[in-house]
């Protein structure tokens, strides 16, 4: 009995293997029995799905493109903002705001006495500018010339000039923008400088216009000597 059982088990396994092998060898070849119209329909379906896929691809690509442009724009915007900030700081843009107007002109009494009016001393003017900055002036212009960090006031052939522009016409208008014009005015008036101006036969009038002052942009080009732009290799 046991013999038969084991023999049966072996035959069972052999039969199983035979059936699997038979299945493997006789895997039916699926023949394509579709006629032309069915094929055309199927082709149409596939084409439709292709079109849908292409549409979705193009949509996604558009999205990517819009993201890229946004990214670039935001970068450009940021750069522009920074550039304009720098320009404002450097004095290359027109600027308006509350401020003080200082006008310097020769004393009439001097004229009456027949004294020769000399040009204003660049040293005195420089001191005035420095004191105004000290007293809280933010931006200054002299006779319509913007005074920036690299501006110079000096004597050229006996004439006082700021950045090459003559300061020979009186009254000299020095305009300064500041947060608190009244305070600036008071401090300039209380300064010893007024006496020095008087010694040089100049009269100083300080007004705080109610309307906003407009300072012109710096007209010359700024020569940067100790900085170089990075060409290539800059991380952007």
């Amino acid at each position: 009995m046991r013999k038969k059982l084991s023999f049966s088990l072996i035959t069972l396994i052999a039969g199983f293997m035979l059936a699997i092998q038979f299945n493997l060898v006789n895997q039916p070849v699926v023949s394509d029995t579709r006629d032309m119209w069915q094929l055309k329909n199927d082709l149409l379906k596939e084409q439709q799905s292709q079109v849908e896929l292409l549409e979705s691809i193009s949509k996604l690509e558009e999205k990517i493109a819009s993201y890229e442009t946004k990214k670039n724009e935001s970068k450009e915007e940021l750069l522009r903002e920074t550039l304009s900030e720098f320009k404002t700081d450097a004095g290359l843009t027109e600027i308006t705001g509350k401020g003080v107007s200082v006008s310097v002109q020769p004393i009439k009494e001097g004229l009456l006495l027949g004294e020769k009016i000399e040009y204003i001393s660049p040293v005195l003017l420089r001191r005035l500018i420095n004191e105004m900055y000290m007293f809280g002036a933010d931006e200054i212009s002299i006779s319509g010339q913007r005074y920036i960090s690299t501006s110079v006031i000096r004597d050229i052939n006996g004439k006082p000039k700021v950045d090459g522009y003559s300061l020979t016409d009186y009254p000299l208008e020095i305009q300064a923008l500041t947060v608190n014009p009244k305070k600036l005015k008071q401090r300039i008036q209380g300064s010893e400088l007024m006496d020095d101006f008087f010694i040089d036969n100049f009269e100083v009038q300080i007004t705080t216009p109610s309307s906003e002052l407009t300072l012109p942009a710096y007209q010359n080009t700024i020569n940067v000597e100790h900085m170089e732009p990075i060409i290539d290799g800059g991380e952007s």
Partner: protein, 121 residues
Amino acid sequence: MWLPVFGLLIGITLGFLVDFDIPHEYSNYLSIAVLAAFDTLFGGIRAHLQNLYDEVVFVTGFFFNIVLAAGLAFLGVHLGVDLYLAAIFVFGVRLFQNIAQIRRILIDKWSISRKKQKKNL
């Protein structure tokens, strides 16, 4: 007598019903294994008819032959030599021999029983 045949039928139906799929690359190994299995099976039948049947020899021979045949085919594939042909040849020859012996034994048995019947008559 009928139990092994019944087992074979169950095995075949099971194999057809169960959706057991083997990768196509292994079909060679399976075919050789099937050949080995049938060789052993017929050898077992012959031994049974000759009263030489040993269960241990039969069962171990069954599995060992299958593994050996498949291993030989595997080795042949990797050596670039068609060793599975050797297995097919050996098993094929033995299969024929076994079946021939089974046939003779059955004929002998049949003729003996016929002679006995004639004597009785």
